[in-house]
């Protein structure tokens, strides 16, 4: 029965995710028609381009058609994986993005895993030791790290460790023309990644400390903790099996929401450290008024967040037995 309940829950969530993605696809179309300015003007800044030539291009891109038709065209092309041609690089926007995805994933996944693990552990300890010195030290550090914007933190780290102390490179993903291969190459990448990853770890980890700490304090005040104590369990078992397992529920929920904010962090960090990922691409595309690439990155980001939220929801439904029966308890 539990599985049937969970399957139903999963189907509802997947359905909701599909609807969300479709809404995003529509919004993405509308937003780029609403922004002021004619993309063609951006494309051809040269005054010698004649009106006829402009018209030709307009027809070629289907921009002369009514909006409804343009929308259907957009959907059709989207279904074929065509998100337009980059104005700047003159090749499919999706290819431009695909080139950047691995670097972003490498940075963000590594940093997030470290941040979540460290943040949760430190937050749990702080909550467990609420009111002690340990708690105030962890809380103070986490609060400071969390309140410094990612780009600011990036610049500070860069100034100290790259500029002053020169222990880490100023930016990029690998040493140019070094000819490193295999292990040497990955060591070089890791060295380049250290500061941007640290920046994400600080920012995200700080947040996880705060989240886990308050969830932990909340869980520790619940009656089932007294029951666990009355059983004569060891403190470590109470912490792990009772307090933490309940405290992680709200932490998991918030993770989905936070991923949306992580996008902003990615753009900032990658820009500061010239990390050749999607975040940096967004910055460059804005500078170059590269509408198709922007539109495509928006879509990729949005779909990624919806998918991540779906995964988070499913995990939540799996770890909280109350969910399977249907909605809130």
């Amino acid at each position: 029965m539990a599985l049937k309940g969970f399957a139903g829950f999963a189907i509802r969530k997947v359905g909701a995710a599909c609807i969300t993605v479709f809404a995003i696809v529509c919004a993405n179309f509308v937003i780029f028609r609403l922004v002021p300015g004619d993309p063609l003007r951006m494309m051809f800044k040269d005054p010698r381009v004649s009106a006829e030539q402009m018209q030709l291009v307009r027809e070629r891109f289907g921009l002369d058609k009514p909006l409804g038709e343009q929308f259907l065209h957009y959907l059709r092309e989207l279904a074929h994986g065509n998100l337009g041609i980059s104005f700047w690089q003159k090749r499919p926007a999706l290819d431009v993005i695909a080139d950047r995805v691995p670097q972003t994933l490498l940075l963000i996944v590594t940093a997030l895993i470290i941040a979540v693990i460290l943040g949760t552990i430190l937050g749990a300890i702080a909550g467990w030791k609420m009111g002690t010195r340990t708690d105030s030290v962890i809380l103070t550090i986490a609060l400071s790290l969390y309140s410094i914007p990612a780009f600011c933190m990036g610049i500070i780290l860069m100034l100290i460790f790259a500029f002053q102390l020169s222990i880490f490179p100023l930016g990029g993903i690998s040493t140019a023309a070094s000819g490193f291969t295999g292990f040497e190459y990955w060591k070089d990448v890791a060295w380049h990644m250290f500061l941007p990853a640290l920046c994400v770890v600080f920012w995200y980890g700080g947040e996880y400390v705060l989240l886990t700490r308050s969830a932990m304090v909340d869980a520790l005040g619940q009656d089932y903790i007294i029951t666990a104590r009355a059983k004569g369990l060891k403190e470590s078992a109470i912490l792990k099996n009772h307090a933490l397992r309940n405290a992680l529920l709200p932490v998991v929920t918030i993770t989905g929401v936070n991923l949306a904010f992580a996008v902003a962090g990615i753009i900032e960090v990658e820009t500061v450290f010239s990390w050749p990922g999607i975040g940096r691409l967004v910055y460059d595309a804005v500078m170059k008024r590269d509408y198709p690439v922007l539109q495509a990155t928006f879509l990729v980001f949005a779909v990624a967040i919806v998918l991540a939220n779906l995964v988070v929801d499913l995990i939540y439904g799996y770890i909280d037995p109350r969910i399977k029966v249907g909605g809130e308890e």
Binding site: A228, G232, A237, I319, P321, R322, V325
Partner: protein, 317 residues
């Protein structure tokens, strides 16, 4: 020697507003085959008193005096580790308000077997089987071993709590208002369960309630608590038939004016005093229909009036 002997126990809460004398010098004992009822209105210090038996009093609360002698040794000076080993194994407790007393993300089977695994050296499989038989014992049925607490009603959750508390065959069970907040039918069933456990396992129980009819059904002896003190003690039958202290009379609803309807619980006018600055003399004095001048000045002692009856009242000579 009694199984549990509490002597002149004092537990105060040191709050910002002042010192709350929640338990102020109480003494009682529980023998090997006794069920002791502890009765009194809400806020009289019942929970505080029994929490101290598991050494669960946490700041701002502190045990400021007295002895709690369980099986011949005082538990107050025990180390945390010694105390931990005693909890669940020697002394177990069913808490007030079972609605949230179970971990919502753990199966009941796990929550029962957990305590057995902690105190006995047996395998997980054996503990799981024991969890199932515990569920049978409390009348839930072993097939529910994989259920989560939210799948149970309030009464069933409380049964699970009983299953957990009795899982390691403790030598003393404390039940703090186990039936408060449950509907009458469920209350009856739980009381029947308590009685059957008492007979089957020969389990000494301290049973807390503010409902005297519940005590009549389960307990051998009763201690009546008022404002941090025990005001009367005796065996259930005689105390129920002939309460001596005006507060006991009030609880049983046998003030002269309502003598005709003895079984019905009457509420006593007024409320228990704040325990920060309790009345100097008898603490019940402001609400007592029989109050005399001396009651305001001098605190009555708990006197033995024969037949194992103890009462603290200036009316009783």
């Amino acid at each position: 020697m009694a199984l549990l002997e509490v002597r002149n126990l004092k537990i105060y809460y040191f709050t910002r507003e002042g010192v709350v004398k929640a338990v102020d010098g109480i003494s009682f004992s529980v023998s090997e085959d006794e069920t002791l009822g502890l009765i009194g209105e809400s806020g009289c210090g019942k929970t505080t008193a029994v929490f101290s038996i598991l050494r669960f009093v946490v700041p701002p609360g502190r045990i400021v005096g007295g002895e709690i002698i369980f099986e011949g040794r005082d538990i107050i000076p025990l180390s945390d580790e010694e105390m931990r080993l005693l909890r669940g194994e020697g002394i177990a407790m069913v808490f007030q308000g079972a609605q949230n007393a179970l971990n919502p993300v753990m199966t009941v089977g796990k929550q029962i077997s957990e305590v057995i695994l902690e105190h006995e050296s047996i395998t997980k499989e054996e503990a799981w089987e024991r969890a199932k038989s515990q569920l049978e014992l409390v009348g839930i049925g072993s097939e529910r071993v994989n259920s989560y607490p939210h799948e149970f009603s309030g009464g069933m959750k409380q049964r699970v709590m009983v299953a957990i508390a009795t899982a390691c065959n403790p030598r003393l069970l404390i039940m703090d208002e186990p039936v408060t907040g449950l509907d009458v039918i469920v209350q009856r069933q739980l009381l029947a369960l308590t009685n059957s456990l008492r007979e089957k396992m020969r389990l000494p129980i301290i049973f807390i309630t503010h409902d005297l009819s519940v005590i009549a059904e389960t307990c051998d002896n009763v201690a009546v608590m008022y404002a941090g003190k025990i005001v009367e003690k005796g065996d259930t039958v005689s105390l129920y038939k002939d309460p001596l202290h005006p507060y006991s009379k009030g609880l049983i609803g046998s003030y002269p004016s309502v003598r005709g309807e003895k079984k019905e619980l009457k509420s006593i006018p007024g409320a228990p005093p704040r325990l920060i600055n309790p009345p100097v003399g008898c603490r019940f004095y402001p609400r007592c229909p029989y109050a005399m001048d001396i009651c305001e000045i001098e605190e009555p002692e708990l006197k033995n009036v024969g037949d194992n009856r103890l009462v603290a009242c200036h009316l009783i000579k």
